[in-house]
């Protein structure tokens, strides 16, 4: 009897032990540091953050994607012709816009799913979240399309939404059709923004336009202008592009016309928008001023010396100075030492000098070790200006771009308007833009880590122009002169159209290298010298017409080979672009 009792007790113990219920398993299945339900407002911010590698000067863009790839293609950052210079198979590492584009679409798809599940009466109050995310998505997508042409879109994100790996291979879609879709959708979005109710949490969650619905209209319309211009110059969508340009410019649509209307992302002091990027000695060669650009901002024959009140005031705002005669200072440890007044025997640098693409390979070592590091070339002026400036805003659409778009459209006669006035306004907006951040800058960090804690020595080798000189009258006079002749006095080969595109290229500086490359492929302007790669086996002897899909796309998307594999090369000319755009005469 006692034994039976004991057995029962033992069994009872086992049953108790087995008291781990399904609920225990369920509760431990879910990750406590993640959320399982999402809302549109927070998803909108998450979705918009995905575009940062395109919209912001992130580390990847500032130190990788632009200087190592786009800046070379657009000739807007200085580089040397080492072997395989135009070939960079691994550019996905530099900022990864292609990687973040599908993630952004995925978040957008999730937003659509959440939106569709809302009760009908809730939808109008929430549509703004969706439209804002969609607008920003198209901003990035226009650029991605301009890099690759055919890209997946509709099937992106299905793997995450369905949780099934069989959805992991989206089909590629025709780039031209996607361009058309964006052009149409942006038009619809503008109308919607004009009428819909502002969602309740929109102001707080919208880190781009802070809930300003008019700014969202300006953003959508300006993007539409950018996209329409891209397809308008040649190719099957030229007529459609020109019609849209006409529709917007004649239709009194709100666009970004003034500096205060710029579409931008303000830097925040913490969180994901505390985008500071990095710094480091090793990156000198990636921040070299372009000779093509510096030469276009100063008079030939004055040896790079900038004259206040006479030369382009943007030059000292954009670049640091270099040593006067190329002499090499005796103390060479790092570029910041060059001209340091605390050091004896070192002359202050006094000229602006860029590196040019025809710097031959033989002098590469010489240039890399001796010149860049010793201040022979001007370096871009980043410290505490575009970089390390806590008041810096990451620019998405700037007013000068829209002014130059207008100037080009008027000049080409697609829309009636004063091309020269828009051209002058573009230059004025560009100069004002630089002065705005020069005046408002608040240096957060010095350049070379704590060894240079004496407040960024590099700033000693820059000139801060006397802003009072450059009033509207001065700018008008300066722009008037640029309308027909280059700063060195030579007339433009192709007249005012080249002047417009050259000034647009200068205004874009080294912050919009990707847009510059698009304009170059579209128009061939400004004409510049591109040295053929010296490497006998170079796959890309001249700047490419498009980018190849990134390696992981080639490796993992099973539709790649069939759908885009055959045309995935560097030479294919996109439907809106010119062939041989870089074959212009030596400037």
């Amino acid at each position: 009897m006692k034994k039976i009792f004991l057995y029962s007790a033992l069994l009872a113990a086992m049953v108790t032990f087995n008291g781990c219920s399904e609920d225990d398993f369920d509760s431990k299945y879910k990750d406590p540091s993640k959320v399982s339900e999402v809302t549109l407002d927070k998803m909108m911010s998450g979705c918009m953050l995905r575009a940062n590698d395109w919209a912001c000067s992130t580390y990847g863009r500032y130190f990788g994607y632009d200087p190592q790839l786009m800046g070379k293609l657009a000739n807007s950052l200085g580089f040397t012709l080492s072997g395989s210079v135009y070939y960079d198979d691994e550019y996905e590492d530099y900022g990864q816009p292609y990687n973040s584009y599908p993630s952004m679409v995925t978040d957008f798809r999730k937003m659509q799913e959440v939106y569709d599940a809302l009760p009908d009466e809730e939808k109008p109050k929430n549509e703004g979240y969706l439209l804002a995310a969609e607008t920003h998505l198209y901003g990035m997508m226009i650029f991605i399309l301009s890099e690759y042409n055919d890209i997946p879109f509709k099937e992106i994100g299905l793997v995450a939404l369905n949780g099934d790996v069989s959805y992991a291979n989206p089909h590629y879609e025709d780039g031209q059709q996607l361009f058309e879709m964006i052009l149409d959708r942006l038009g619809e979005i503008d109308k919607k923004f004009a009428t819909i109710e502002k969602p309740s949490a929109f102001g707080g969650q919208d880190f781009i336009n802070k809930g300003d619905m008019t700014l969202w209209r300006r953003y959508a319309n300006s993007l539409r202008l950018r996209a329409a211009l891209r397809v308008s110059t040649q190719g099957p969508l030229a007529a459609k592009g020109q019609a849209i340009l006409k529709e917007i410019l004649e239709g009194n649509y709100p666009i970004v016309e003034d500096l205060e209307q710029n579409i931008k992302i303000a830097r925040q002091s913490s969180g994901p928008l505390d985008i500071e990027g990095g710094s480091g000695f090793d990156w000198h060669n990636l921040q070299t001023g372009s000779a093509e650009m510096i030469n276009r901002m100063q008079k030939a024959g004055d040896g790079g010396v900038w004259v206040e009140g006479q030369d382009d005031p943007r030059l000292p705002l954009m670049y640091c100075m270099a040593t006067a005669n190329g002499e090499q200072p005796t103390d060479i440890e790092s570029e910041v030492v060059v001209g340091d007044p605390l050091k004896t025997g070192i002359a202050l640098p006094s000229v602006f000098r860029g590196a040019s693409a025809n710097t031959s390979y033989d002098t590469f070592n010489d240039m890399f070790f001796n010149r860049l590091n010793r201040g022979y070339y001007s370096r871009v002026r980043r410290n505490g200006f575009f970089w390390g400036n806590k008041n810096w805003d990451h620019q998405i659409v700037s007013s000068f771009e829209i002014q130059f778009i207008k100037a080009e459209v008027y000049q080409r006669g697609w829309v009636a308007g004063d091309a020269k006035a828009a051209f002058k306004e573009g230059i004025r907006q560009s100069i004002k833009f630089l002065f705005k951040y020069q005046n408002g800058r608040s240096v957060t960090e010095t350049d070379n880590g704590d060894s240079d804690y004496l407040n960024g020595k590099q700033q000693r080798y820059v000139i801060n122009p006397d802003q009072s000189i450059y009033d509207d009258a001065w700018i008008d006079q300066f722009a008037e002169a640029r309308w027909s002749t280059h700063i060195n006095g030579a007339p433009y080969t192709d007249g005012n159209l080249e002047a417009i595109l050259e000034q647009k290229w200068v205004a874009f500086g080294y912050l919009y290298c990707g847009e510059q490359w698009c304009d170059l492929r579209r128009t061939g302007y400004p004409r510049m010298y591109y040295e053929k790669d010296h490497d006998v086996t170079a796959i890309v002897p001249y700047p490419c017409n498009r980018l190849r899909y990134i390696a992981n796309e080639r490796n993992y998307n099973v539709h790649f080979q069939d759908e885009v594999g055959t045309y995935d090369n560097y030479s294919d000319v996109l439907f809106w672009a010119k062939a041989n755009w870089h074959d212009g005469p030596t400037w």
Binding site: L10, F17, F25, K30, S33, G83, V159, G163, N169, Y453
Partner: protein, 1119 residues
């Protein structure tokens, strides 16, 4: 009254073990009391050839009347009836049966049992089994083999000792992690570490240095960049080798099937030492060892600092490659991390401190100044108390380490109590408690930080003692360039980049940065046993493994915060983490003879395991407000908090298990197991899964005894098949959204790394067949096993096409196989009275193959080197771990077909695609040991080896590129051609590479273009982002080595000599570890300096702390 107390104790213990309520009946009186009749009484001694045998069982056969011998081998047995048989038994000895005829004394000498070497091994779930019954391969390592050379953790004592078991230590002294790989790798993404079972309970162990957010280990405790380069530890290194009695490695699926998913990579079953015999004995031992940094790279002493002749300016050309100081007019070398400057010629030059020095090598061995001789002191005292009804062993071990790094310390205290209470002949209780507390100050830094980089190379012209004074200013700040900082007069005269700054950074980090880790761990268990019937036993077990760790990390202010309005320096961060494993099981065990020849055992049980982790970290942002004041509130900027600051993890696994064992006539054994497991890491519909195993052991020598020669003592054939399921790591399957915030707003995103709600467990199926033989009275023996292991439904974190919108997704896809042969053999060719020679060896051949991956996917990337210059891919149809890099482009057709193409710059043109270089997997690993005994001296030598496979060597690449490696010493003069650099300088440094160049007409001609040697070497070492640019092939090396792992010489003092000191045993030993390589294929570096314990981090060397060579002495005494 006494009995009543015991009942209470039983109740408490049972209540602990069985959460369910349970009533115990009054326990019967103890067996000894029941048979205590005052009839015959006999006393005696049991001895073997060495002396008294402690703990031998002396019993009256067929009764419960029995005792064990005391520490002198004595016993007294009462109540023996005339005609009774007295049975004397002890493990490993032939049992003797002597009839009692009224004799008063009985002295017995036991003989070692070489015939029936039925060793008892502890198998899954702590079930002790006679090894002859096992149908699968196990390796058992005894205490003596683990502590012979005073290794600070048990795993490093396993090198070469178990076939099919590969050990890889991350170095870093006693606080470093150890990786154990059993029978090849069984996962691409997941954990490959075996399950560690301590006294029947699974304990925390994971990979070190992998940084997985939910890591079961404390490896990812790092607090940002300051900790990135340090070498971390993992859980198994906490187990004190002094407390281990035996260690069994269960390799195949059949052996580990009962442990379930956690043991998919094998299991290491550790049994702690228990008190033996009766009375009290005390063991004391002390070990001291010195650890010397070894296998560090040599540096060249012919050429001084500088980036190369091509970089000489006009001024330098005029001054033989030196610069001229404008202020003093003195010459000085062009300081940089590179050593491509002018040859040392003894001329007077300006030094970094402003003094004048001869331009000659200052030190050919900078490591001497950068490391010290480390020491480990281990002291252990163990008190054993054995009695009729209880036994206890308490042990305390302390380990004090001075690391090889110039700063830091490590100490560990280990308290262990293990015991058994026998309440009566039916109820008993086993209990263990291990409390471990350790304190690590400044974990060792990875060696790649010391000699693998372009900024901190140690050339011969560096005065390190001077740097040790100069790295810091008199105000306590980091020293600076000439003319700058608050103390400009103390600053470096030159050398502000690379060379001097890099070394300054290392010294600053070593001395002005401190990480402090305090870890406390408690592993405790209670396990009651109830013998319900002679054939039925119930066993329960409840345990916890609880770790709490607290870490702080502080860096001194390197510049005055007042000097800048915008930034500050210094940092402080803190992290707390706890991890708890709670485990319980209950088993009903049936064991009965059925008739003459059959025996049936059957077990049924249930077990549960839960794990919980929580960590919280915080750190200052942007420096410290008040210099060198280490508080979170002293942050210069607002502290950034994200959901990375807090991590949580919980998991639960339960299982039902059954086993059936049937034996026939003690020569044929069949074992079947089944396990139904349930895991919270899997989605509901696939949460519960079953897997079986079966094994047969056939002792053909016993079956055909009459037909076997007498020297053939033991022969066994075993066959087994098992399936083990493996659940994914916590939250891998769960689909959820990430969360984050900025100032005043927050966001959600779809994660880039997707879970999968359709995930199911992966399955490892393993077939194994083997033979075991013991010959010539066990003077020789060998064992051969073949296994074929197949992992199906592989849990794979597969990479997705970027256009899918996600980066990875967990899937069940793919098949991987490991096939292999394990051989071990031993023999004693010479055995005389005073002298014996024993040899033992083992070899393991494993062939890994990925049979398939996700449909349409041909490979997964498993590593990259020098930022993509080299890659590691794992391809379908190949073993894991193929190294790839750009290779020379060659002419494809025509008369020059196959010749290397040289570019216009005189350098080779490299392929634009990655080409195969070699695979990382070894072909064979193993060990070879020799033991020589002469009288009381024992010399033990253990070597181990690895052959086959490649490894990446970043350190080699860096030392070559910087011109520090002695291989670059021959760089000019005879044998070189004149070469004119672009700066106009002509030197005798040119070479013409073998190959062809374009003839300008689409054809090829012999290469005649001269290139500077330094440019050629530099191009081979460039840090690149694509395969095409540099030649990376030469950083991959064949990785073969054979190492003298351990040598020990011990002397066992004669009993007569020591008995006056009340000593029962005294042994003195001197030993050495990691003494040297007989052979290694990597020049100038140690092939065993991989970082981390996961296989991917073992693809390259340089990640671990600098390796060491140890010598020491130990003294063991028993009172």
């Amino acid at each position: 009254m006494k009995t009543y107390y015991r009942v209470q104790l039983v109740l408490v213990a049972l209540a602990l073990s069985f959460p369910g309520s349970m009533m115990a009946e009054q326990t019967p009186k103890s067996g000894i009391e029941t048979v205590a009749q005052q009839s015959g009484r006999i006393t005696g001694t049991v001895e073997d050839e060495l002396g008294p045998v402690i703990g031998a069982a002396v019993e009256v056969k067929g009764t419960h009347n029995g005792v064990v011998t005391d520490s002198d081998g004595h016993f007294t047995l009462s109540g023996v009836k005339s005609g009774a048989i007295i049975r004397i038994s002890f493990l490993g000895y032939v049992t003797q049966e002597i009839p009692y005829k009224g004799q008063a004394t009985l002295n017995v000498t036991l003989a070692e049992d070489s015939q029936a070497l039925g060793e008892v091994v502890v198998t899954a779930l702590g079930i002790a089994k006679d090894s002859k019954k096992l149908g699968y391969s196990v390796t058992t390592i005894k205490s003596d083999d683990l502590i012979k050379t005073g290794t600070p953790n048990f795993a490093t004592a396993l090198y070469g000792k178990a076939s099919g078991v590969r050990i890889q230590n991350t170095q870093g002294g006693a606080a470093g992690g150890v990786s154990i790989t059993v029978r090849g790798l069984s996962s691409i993404n997941g954990n490959t570490q075996p399950l560690v079972i301590l006294n029947g309970v699974p304990i925390r162990n994971g990979n070190s240095g992998t940084g997985s957010s939910n890591s079961s280990d404390f490896s990812n405790i790092g607090l940002g960049s300051t900790q990135m380069g340090s070498v971390r530890s993992n859980g198994l290194t906490d187990i004190n080798p002094e407390d281990i009695d035996q260690l069994t490695i269960l390799k195949g699926a059949a052996a580990t099937a009962l442990y379930g998913s956690e043991a998919a990579n094998g299991a290491i079953v550790i049994t702690s030492k228990k008190a033996k015999g009766t009375g009290i004995t005390v063991d004391v031992n002390a070990t001291f060892q010195a650890n010397m940094v070894a296998y560090v790279p040599e540096i060249q002493t012919k050429y001084g600092p500088g980036t190369g002749n091509g970089d000489w300016t006009a001024e330098m050309i005029a001054n033989d490659g030196f610069r001229k100081d404008a202020a003093t007019g003195k010459l000085y070398p062009a300081y940089s991390a590179y050593q491509w400057g002018p040859a040392y010629d003894g001329r007077e030059v300006l030094y970094i401190d402003g003094s004048t020095r001869a331009y000659s090598p200052i030190s050919s061995n900078p490591w001497k100044q950068l490391f010290r001789t480390g020491t480990d002191q281990t002291y252990n005292i163990a008190i054993n108390q054995g009695g009729e009804n209880s036994s206890n062993r308490f042990s305390y071990t302390t380990l004090l380490e001075t690391p090889n790094a110039l700063t830091g310390s490590y100490s560990k205290h280990n308290f262990s109590l293990i015991g058994n209470l026998k309440f009566n002949d039916k109820l008993s209780l086993d209990y263990t408690a291990n409390y471990i507390t350790q304190h690590v100050v400044n974990r060792s830094q990875a060696s790649i930080g010391m000699y693998g980089g372009f900024n901190n190379m140690f050339g011969a012209f560096l005065d390190i003692p001077l740097m040790k004074r100069m790295y810091k200013t008199s105000l306590g700040y980091k020293n600076n360039d000439r003319g700058s900082g608050p103390t400009p007069n103390e600053a470096f005269q030159y050398g502000s980049d690379g060379f001097v700054h890099g070394v300054r950074e290392i010294l600053w980090d070593t001395n002005e940065h401190e990480s402090d880790e305090l870890e406390q761990r408690l592993i405790a268990s209670v396990a009651p046993t109830w013998k319900i019937f002679p054939f039925l036993t119930a066993k329960g077990r409840l345990s916890t493994d609880y770790t709490f760790s607290k870490m702080t990390d502080q860096s001194n202010s390197s510049f005055p915060s007042a000097a800048s309005t915008n930034e500050s320096s210094g940092s402080y961060s803190t992290l707390s983490k706890y991890y708890q494993v709670t485990y319980g099981d209950i088993m009903l065990m049936f064991d009965k003879r059925l008739g003459e020849k059959f025996n049936l055992t059957a077990n049924v049980g249930w077990q549960a395991r839960s794990e919980k982790m929580n960590s919280l970290s915080l750190g200052t942002n942007g420096g410290l407000m008040i210099e060198n004041t280490f508080m979170i509130g002293n942050s210069y900027k607002t502290i950034n908090v994200s959901n990375d600051n807090e991590r949580k993890m919980e998991l639960l696994k339960t299982a039902w298990l059954e086993t059936i064992g049937l034996s026939y006539d003690d020569f044929l054994f069949l074992d079947l197991t089944g396990r139904q497991e349930k895991s919270s890491t899997l989605p509901k519909n696939s949460r519960s899964y079953f897997y079986p195993s079966g094994s047969v052991s056939f002792l053909y020598t016993d079956a055909f005894r009459d037909n076997m020669p007498s020297w053939y003592g033991y022969g066994k054939l075993r066959v087994s098949y098992g399936i083990v399921g493996n659940a994914p790591e916590a939250y891998a399957a769960n689909m959820a959204y990430t969360f984050g915030s900025g100032p005043g707003w927050s966001y959600n995103q779809v994660p880039n790394n997707l879970g999968n709600e359709n995930l199911k467990p992966e399955k490892t199926k393993e077939f194994e067949i083997g033979i075991e033989n013991k010959l010539f009275n066990n003077r020789a023996g060998f064992e051969v096993s073949y296994y074929n292991k197949k992992i199906t439904d592989m849990l794979l974190k597969t990479a997705l096409a970027p256009s899918s919108g996600s980066e990875t997704m967990w899937v069940n896809s793919g098949v991987m196989s490991n096939k292999g042969v394990e051989i071990s053999a031993y023999g004693t060719p010479i055995e005389t009275k005073d002298f014996s020679l024993e040899l033992k060896t083992n070899l393991a051949f494993n062939k890994n193959k990925i049979e398939s991956l996700v449909e349409g996917i041909n490979f997964v990337e498993t590593g990259d080197f020098a930022s993509k210059v080299g890659k590691n891919y794992s391809y379908v149809g190949r073993p894991m771990g193929d190294f790839l890099a750009a290779v020379n482009q060659v002419v494809e057709e025509g008369p020059y077909k196959g010749r290397k193409i040289v570019n216009t710059d005189g350098n080779y043109v490299m392929s634009q695609d990655y080409e195969f270089i070699g695979n990382a997997m070894p072909k064979v690993v193993g060990g070879l040991g020799v033991t020589l005994s002469y009288k009381r001296f024992v010399l033990d030598v253990m070597t181990d080896f690895r052959f086959g496979g490649y490894i990446a060597n970043d350190c080699y690449r860096y030392t070559m590129a910087t011109g520090v490696n002695p291989e670059t010493e021959n760089r000019e003069g005879e044998g070189f051609l004149p070469y004119t650099y672009t700066n106009g300088l002509t030197t005798q440094t040119g070479i013409i590479l073998e190959g062809v160049v374009s003839d300008g007409n689409g054809g090829w001609k012999e290469n005649d273009k001269v290139i500077a040697y330094e440019d050629y070497i530099n191009s081979k070492n460039a840090w690149g982002t694509s395969p095409g640019t540099p030649n990376a092939t030469y950083q991959f090396f064949k990785n073969n080595w054979w190492k003298l792992r351990e040598v020990s010489l011990s002397y066992n003092f004669p009993k007569d000599l020591i008995k006056h000191a009340a000593l029962k045993n005294l042994t003195l030993a001197v030993f050495g570890r990691n003494l040297f390589y007989f052979h290694k294929s990597i020049p100038n570096f140690d092939p065993e300096t991989s970082n981390g314990t996961d296989w991917k981090s073992q693809l390259s060397i340089g990640g671990s702390a600098s390796p060491t060579r140890s010598v020491g002495v130990s003294l063991r005494a028993t009172f």
